[in-house]
């Protein structure tokens, strides 16, 4: 990855310092410790706040269910609005988790251990936030199950040519595999916590740790299963957002009908995913004090990912415009001209500023390693990626026949539903932070120099669990 860090697994002295601790017990304390303390009032306050927003979201979906899709700002040229924008955005957020857990795992990127649990959890919650939108954006929510291939007496079957149908499978597979992967990784850590726990907590943790004793046999099975799941997840990283992009790419609409969408969407998803993981991590490591485990090295690596994917996305933007011009197709040309200079120009330039310009700061090592800069830039990227999806979806407002062109303006319900999904995300996330190990204890230990067979153990400090 970096020229700064020589890669020699067998030479512990040359390995990057991923964990600023030489003590397994300290690592356990750092990570498992917060789950064992009493609920602190800040956490309760934050959970209450998040849960209220989640309740608001639920209420607004109820309102939508009761009144009709018209409570949103969608209209006739722009039949998809915030719901789909938010859906893609949340799905994109989830991508960092899978990439970190699967691809980086397969590539033996050991620094991933500091952030994988965290980002996997974010993946799951982000996919949940994403999933509510397609379910509720349909006009008749109560028969949304028509989209599943359920045998019925009418012989009516979903249309397998529709990208929305592909979406259903792409996202449900993604969610299932991500959840399994996450849970799989949690088992040794849950066992660690079980061993430290008492009473009801011990009972519950015992159930979920599936009788893990840390036996070599267990570890062997675990490593094998983890590898298999990583192999299953790896194509999903590429496929999910590719398939989501097919919603647009397979359509006829100028600005949507483009073959660059699948790679561009994947790059964008990883981009936004890393950005949000980074944002959250910076906050969490400050609050929960695991700076020793999540080090500047991790932040910097993630920033490099953002630089790479952000530049890829920028390339895609440029290529879209070039191809639109080069195709000579008047509709395509206008679609892109209109994106940049039409009624929604502000969204386009917000997107360019946030997604193309802001990651370029990461060329500078000082900025890459500066938490304030990183935090601000990741926020920019999150906003920019939301605008990217907005710009794409809103392309609908001016397609082929000028007479049908319209405008899109979200309603208060759109805004608050979107804000409400943050409530849902943070509610789950806060519960995760409190009740589950935020970092992969076993894996972190695995990348510590002490874990190397060649490491000479300081027996006095060997604490294990």
């Amino acid at each position: 990855m970096s020229t700064m860090i020589p890669h020699r697994d067998d030479d512990p002295t040359k390995r990057p310092v991923l964990v600023e601790s030489s003590d397994f017990h300290e690592v356990t304390e750092i990570i498992a410790g917060p789950t064992e303390t009493k609920l602190n009032s800040t956490w309760i306050l934050l959970l209450g706040l998040s849960a209220s927003f989640m309740a608001l979201m639920a209420g607004l979906f109820g309102y939508l269910f009761w009144e009709g899709t018209g409570v949103w700002g969608v209209n006739m040229p722009v039949a998809w609005g915030f719901a789909i924008v938010n859906f893609i955005w949340w799905i994109g957020i989830g991508h960092a988790g899978t990439l970190i857990s699967a691809i980086l795992f397969l590539f033996r990127q050991k620094w991933r251990t500091g952030i994988n649990r965290f980002s996997e959890a974010m993946t799951i919650f982000a996919v949940m936030c994403a999933g509510v939108f397609p379910a509720f954006h349909v006009g008749r929510v109560w028969i949304v199950y028509y989209i599943f291939p359920l045998p019925n007496q009418m012989g009516a079957w979903p249309n397998t040519r529709s990208p929305l149908f592909w979406d259903v499978f792409a996202i449900s597979t993604y969610f299932t595999v991500s959840l399994l992967f996450w849970y799989m990784g949690l088992i040794p850590d849950l066992a660690t916590m079980r061993d430290r726990a008492k009473g009801v907590r011990k009972f519950v943790l015992s159930i979920f740790s599936l009788g893990w004793r840390g036996a070599a046999r267990h570890w062997q099975n675990y490593e094998r299963a983890y590898l298999i799941l990583a192999a299953i997840s790896t194509p999903l990283v590429l496929s999910v957002h590719s398939i989501v992009s097919f919603d647009f790419a397979t359509s006829k609409i100028p600005g949507w009908h483009t073959t660059i969408f699948p790679p561009y969407f994947v790059a964008g998803a990883v981009f936004s995913g890393f950005a949000l993981v980074s944002t959250m991590l910076i906050v969490a490591r400050e609050i929960f004090g695991f700076k020793k485990v999540v080090r500047m090295h991790h932040i910097e690596n993630m920033n490099k990912f953002m630089l790479l994917t952000g530049t890829l996305v920028g390339y895609a933007y440029a290529m879209e415009i070039f191809i639109a011009w080069y195709s000579g197709n008047m509709y395509e040309r206008y679609a892109f001209w209109n994106r940049a200079l039409g009624e929604f120009w502000w969204a386009y330039w917000a997107m360019i500023t946030c997604n193309v310009i802001s990651p370029q700061f990461f060329w500078f090592k000082k900025i890459r390693r500066n938490l304030v800069w990183t935090f601000i830039l990741t926020i920019f990227i999150n906003i920019g990626m939301w605008f990217e999806r907005f710009v794409i979806v809103i392309t609908l407002h001016a397609d082929f026949i000028p007479s049908s062109w319209g405008y899109y303006r979200p309603t208060w319900v759109d805004w608050w539903t979107y804000i409400g999904t943050f409530g849902m995300f943070f509610t789950f996330f806060l519960l995760f932070l409190k009740f589950l190990p935020q970092l992969a204890i076993a894996e972190v230990k695995g990348v510590m120099p002490e874990a190397s067979p060649h490491h000479h153990h300081d027996t006095s400090k060997h604490g294990g669990h």
């Binding site: 018209g70 028509y146 609409i253 206008y334 007479s403």
Partner: protein
């Protein structure tokens, strides 16, 4: 049923059981099993619903209590009850509609109609092909009358001062008043009505005037109908009106005359104009239309040459033409002015333009027409008809017909034309002076639709006795003592004479829904006419004019809708002296900004203000709904400081983000001022502004409430349609105007294909070709289309449509026809502002060329029924699929509302039910629904089906007749049927002999977005303009 009580012993003893209830041995089940038929089945009364029936029948298998969330009324499909006939009416097959001929009179203009009735409910109005004023076409107002019939806000009983009472109470109140009036000869009795073309009503009226000789009758229409009569009266000595035959005219000069839409007889004009618009006939036989007008009308949109001239200068343009014609050697009847003294270049009228027009008219003597619109003074009409006479057009392209309304007068057979406004002014003065003791207003609304300076409404209360007969409460009924409910024309009998003298009968399709009476009935009862029911009045009137065998004749008249008794009389030129005085009385062309007041294209003078279909129908030119606005041209807009709001970036047709909001302006004129939203309309004459009448009603139902601005408050009785000395100031407020089309530019896209006749004749094949307009790589499918589709579109009947852009005038009648036929809801201004209007068929309007003086293009746009339909590919649940006959069908039951189909539709013709637009209908409103078309629920997509219900009906009829093939022309979609110019042709594209197949083979035929390989079934015939080569440089 009680909760299940499963008894294991019981269960063990049963080898088989058919339900859990049986298994449980519940007492209900035992009871149930004892009766062979379910409870209630043997006692099923007339009031049992189908739903109840199904519940009872299903009881053996149903788990009670799991059938649904009974509280969720907002979400569930509405529960409704249907009732069968107890005694089957003869000749009525349930589900098979019946059609009856009738007649509708609108401001004295009669149009014959055929009305569709389902089980006694009229649901759809069509034109009567046998009636000369319809020829099968209808206007938007005719189509929308169905909605008025079922309007729950109609007056249901007579009421006095707002409290409901009975007709008996009214007669008890009125009879002593009329008895007293009879004694004094009717001194102080005044009647006021709108124009009528009904002979039988005229007979009742004449009788009334004879019985009350001192009474006065005021016929007042807010929109002018008497200028043409007064103009021709000066030439002929008779109240005649011109009857045009545009099919015979190859050169037409229309001076501020919207003969294709708002002028009388416009349906026939559209048909005739279209007939003469065939470019294949060549330059000499295809008509050429010159339009001189101050603001865009649809006629101006059809023009080959259009000259922007402010309204006050139009008569002078006409005189300039007369002078030009005279100088080119035409002998013009004496107009009382010296034509040589008329400046050639006055009022910005291009002399070259006039010269070319004069030459063209002169070289087509007897085959040309000069027309003037009703908003122009009588003198202008006199000049125009004199020119027609001089050009030899009278008798060929123009007939001077004695006006049916006035020819009816028994007391004044020659019929000096009435001057409605003068009569109203007189009535206002009488009221003011206390000379009126009793005022009866029959179906008119002078308190709203009259010049503000008359303050007519305020004066009505000075009459001791006053009554208004009207269908819905209005401004006039609010100030009269009595409010009497008027029958809808579909509830009563009547008759009417058309412009050419054809008489047609009106028969009811339904008994009055409420306790209502017709105007003739009320008048007859008040004045002691021999018959008092509308049926008897009409029948007795015609019986007295027919001879033996009247019964058979009457039945035939009712069946055909046409009375076969003599036509109208012609008037001849006698050259009376008033010509000169009329022409000399023409006001000088105004200086500075002038403001026109004209009837709205949809609401007319406001009488349709409570009709939601018409309120939501976009104005043909501005595309505004639910409002009127002060219309100004781009240059004037700039002067007024409102040009920021012009949809005017030439390159894009795009506008500012907040474009739905428009600036408010204060218009001050005639000593009154009005705050009104301003709208920039290209193609207006310089220094001219236009404000449509009919909006801003004060006493109106919920629909028309707060819709638009009341322009009548600015109207002065001295010059009601044109005001000068207008002051317009921009206010610091914005107002949301709901426009259905925000972008007016074609963006250089080959969507509407137009060109000149010369170009067309040079190479017809190339004229509308893809090569010329839309070069693209060959279309190629990724899949084998034959394998992909279940159906082979080369076999069997395959439906297609051709829309002729050359004859489409953009009148919008098809939109309402579609709305009525397909149960399309209206959504209200807020939803239109959100871009959620539901019209399946829309009329796209584009401006091309110079923004100040553009050309207008119309294009009806609806589902193109693509063979390779992009919507079908993306629907995840297969709710939109193809039929074997090539229709892109919507399966409402299957639709979950992802709206993906709409996104992928290149034409954006799909419409989504964002709310449950149909759940608030009263029972009366539900009656207007077409039972052949599903009423869509919230959350489903809908769109044009090519009127699949009509296709299926024809198919069933053909099959019943033992044929597999449906005859060409047996199916007409609602849009095509209403189209006055017959621009929409539908049929089987696989039948080479069908009209549609022949049109599809025509070189002007083209499909949209061919490069997408959509294979649309709807195609268009390119528009061909026929400009005068002499004016080519100017155009």
């Amino acid at each position: 049923m009680s909760p299940l009580n499963l008894d294991p012993k019981n269960a063990a003893s049963k080898a088989s059981w058919k339900s859990l209830e049986e298994l449980s041995g519940s007492p209900e089940f035992k009871d149930f099993a004892e009766h062979e038929f379910p409870a209630g089945a043997d006692t099923m009364g007339a009031d049992i619903s189908r739903r109840r029936f199904m519940q009872v029948m299903g009881a053996g298998l149903a788990f009670a209590g799991v059938t649904g969330l009974s509280g969720c009324k907002g979400i569930r499909r509405p529960e409704q009850h249907i009732l069968p006939y107890n005694n089957m009416p003869e000749s009525l097959v349930p589900g098979v509609p019946q059609f009856y001929a009738t007649t509708h009179s609108l401001a004295g203009e009669a149009v014959g109609l055929i009305v569709e009735s389902h089980e006694g409910r009229p649901t759809k109005v069509e034109g009567n092909p046998a009636h000369p004023a319809s020829r099968g076409g209808t206007s938007k107002q005719h189509q929308a009358t169905i909605l008025d019939l079922y309007n729950p806000e109609r007056l249901k009983t007579p009421s006095k001062g707002g409290s409901d009472t009975t007709w008996d109470a009214f007669w008890n109140d009125a009879n002593p008043v009329f008895a007293k009036l009879r004694d004094n000869g009717g001194e102080g009795l005044r009647f006021l009505s709108g124009a009528s073309a009904s002979p039988s009503f005229r007979a009742v009226r004449d009788h009334a005037m004879a019985a009350f000789p001192k009474a006065r009758w005021t016929t007042y229409e807010a929109l002018p109908r008497d200028n043409a009569q007064n103009g021709l009266y000066a030439l002929t000595g008779k109240a005649a009106e011109p009857l045009y035959h545009f099919e015979k005219a190859v050169r037409i000069a229309a001076f501020d005359c919207d003969f294709l839409e708002s002028e009388p007889n416009s349906l026939a004009h559209s048909r005739d104009f279209a007939a003469g618009r065939n470019p294949d006939k060549g330059a000499e036989s295809m008509n050429r239309l010159y339009v001189i007008e101050p603001a865009f009308s649809v006629t101006g949109g059809s023009a080959d040459h259009r000259l922007r001239v402010k309204a006050s200068a139009v008569p002078h343009a006409l005189l300039a033409l007369a002078r030009e014609l005279q100088s080119q050697g035409l002998s013009i009847p004496d107009l009382g002015v010296s034509l040589n003294s008329i400046p050639r270049n006055a009022e910005g009228i291009s002399s070259a333009w006039m010269k070319a027009l004069a030459e063209d008219l002169l070289s087509h003597r007897g085959k040309s027409v000069v027309t003037v619109g009703q908003y122009q003074p009588a003198g202008a009409h006199a000049v125009a008809q004199a020119l027609n006479l001089a050009l030899g057009n009278v008798g060929s392209t123009v007939e001077w017909k004695v006006s049916p309304v006035h020819a009816l007068s028994a007391t004044n057979p020659a019929g000096a034309p009435e001057n409605g406004l003068a009569a109203l002014r007189e009535l206002a003065a009488d009221l003011d002076a206390g000379r009126v003791t009793a005022l009866v207003v029959l179906d008119a609304n002078p308190a709203y639709a009259s010049p503000a300076d008359l303050a007519f409404g305020a004066k009505i209360s000075k009459a001791a006795f006053s009554a208004t007969l009207v269908s819905e409460a209005n401004e006039t009924s609010a100030v009269t003592t009595w409010q009497l409910p008027l029958s809808h024309f579909l509830e009563t009998w009547g008759d009417a004479v058309a412009l050419d003298g054809t008489t047609s009968l009106a028969q009811p399709l339904i008994a009055p829904l409420y306790d209502t009476l017709d105007a003739s009935e009320v008048l007859a009862k008040l004045t002691g006419y021999a018959q008092t029911s509308a049926h008897d009045i009409v029948r007795a009137h015609w019986a007295s004019r027919s001879g033996l065998g009247f019964d058979a004749q009457w039945r035939k008249w009712l069946h055909d809708g046409i009375v076969t008794l003599g036509g109208g009389a012609d008037a001849a030129y006698v050259g009376t002296a008033p010509v000169g005085s009329l022409v000399r009385a023409l006001p000088a062309a105004g200086q500075g900004l002038e403001l026109m007041f004209r009837g709205d294209a949809r609401l007319l003078d406001g009488r349709f203000a409570n009709n939601a279909w018409l309120q939501e129908l976009p104005d043909p030119v501005t595309k505004l709904t639910w409002d009127n606005a002060l219309l100004v041209g781009p240059a004037l807009g700039k002067t007024l400081g409102i040009s920021d709001f012009l949809l005017n970036e030439e390159a894009t047709g795009t506008t500012l983000a907040d474009y739905r909001k428009r600036p408010m302006v204060r218009v001050t004129v005639n000593g009154a001022s009005l705050e009104v939203a301003a709208w920039i309309l290209p193609g207006m004459a310089d220094d001219a502004a236009l404000l449509h009448l009919g909006f801003g009603r004060v006493q109106v139902g919920t629909v028309g409430d707060e819709a638009g601005f009341n322009a009548f408050t600015l109207v002065s009785s001295k010059s009601p349609y044109l005001a000068s000395g207008v002051k317009v100031e921009k206010l610091d407020r914005l107002y949301a105007l709901a426009c259905t089309q925000d972008h007016w530019s074609l963006m250089g896209r080959p969507i509407v294909r137009t060109g000149d006749l010369e170009e067309y004749l040079k190479d017809p094949q190339e004229y509308a070709s893809e090569d010329k307009w839309n070069k693209h790589p060959p279309e190629k499918s990724l899949w084998d289309e034959k394998v992909r589709g279940t159906y082979d579109f080369s076999k069997g009947m395959q439906w297609g449509m051709v829309i002729d852009l050359n004859s489409c005038t953009g009148c919008n009648a098809c939109m309402i026809a579609c709305q009525a036929e397909n149960n399309i809801p209206t959504v209200g201004k807020e939803q239109v502002l959100r871009g959620r209007d539901m019209h399946w068929l829309r009329l796209d309007r584009y401006f091309t060329g110079n923004v100040e003086d553009p050309q207008l293009e119309f294009q009806p746009m609806t589902c193109q029924q693509c063979e390779n339909a992009p919507c079908e590919e993306v629907c995840p649940v297969g709710a939109t699929v193809h039929s074997h006959d090539g229709l892109n069908d919507m399966v409402y039951n299957r639709c979950i509302g992802t709206r993906y189909c709409s996104n992928n539709c290149p034409f954006k013709v799909r419409r989504f039910n964002f709310f449950n637009y149909n759940n608030k209908h009263t029972e009366t409103e539900q009656m207007r629904m077409n039972p052949d078309v599903t009423v869509r629920f919230r959350g489903v997509m809908e769109k044009c089906t090519y009127c699949v219900q009509r296709v299926q009906k024809a198919r069933i009829e053909a099959k019943n007749a033992g044929s597999e093939r449906i005859a060409d022309g047996a199916i007409t979609p609602a849009c095509g049927q209403s189209c006055p110019s017959q621009s929409i042709v539908f049929g089987d594209i696989n039948d080479p002999e069908s009209r549609v197949a022949k049109l599809k083979a025509h070189p002007r035929n083209y499909g949209l977005l061919k490069e997408l390989n959509l294979k649309p079934r709807t195609s268009y015939l390119a528009r061909v303009r026929n400009p005068n080569p002499a004016l080519a440089l100017q155009a």
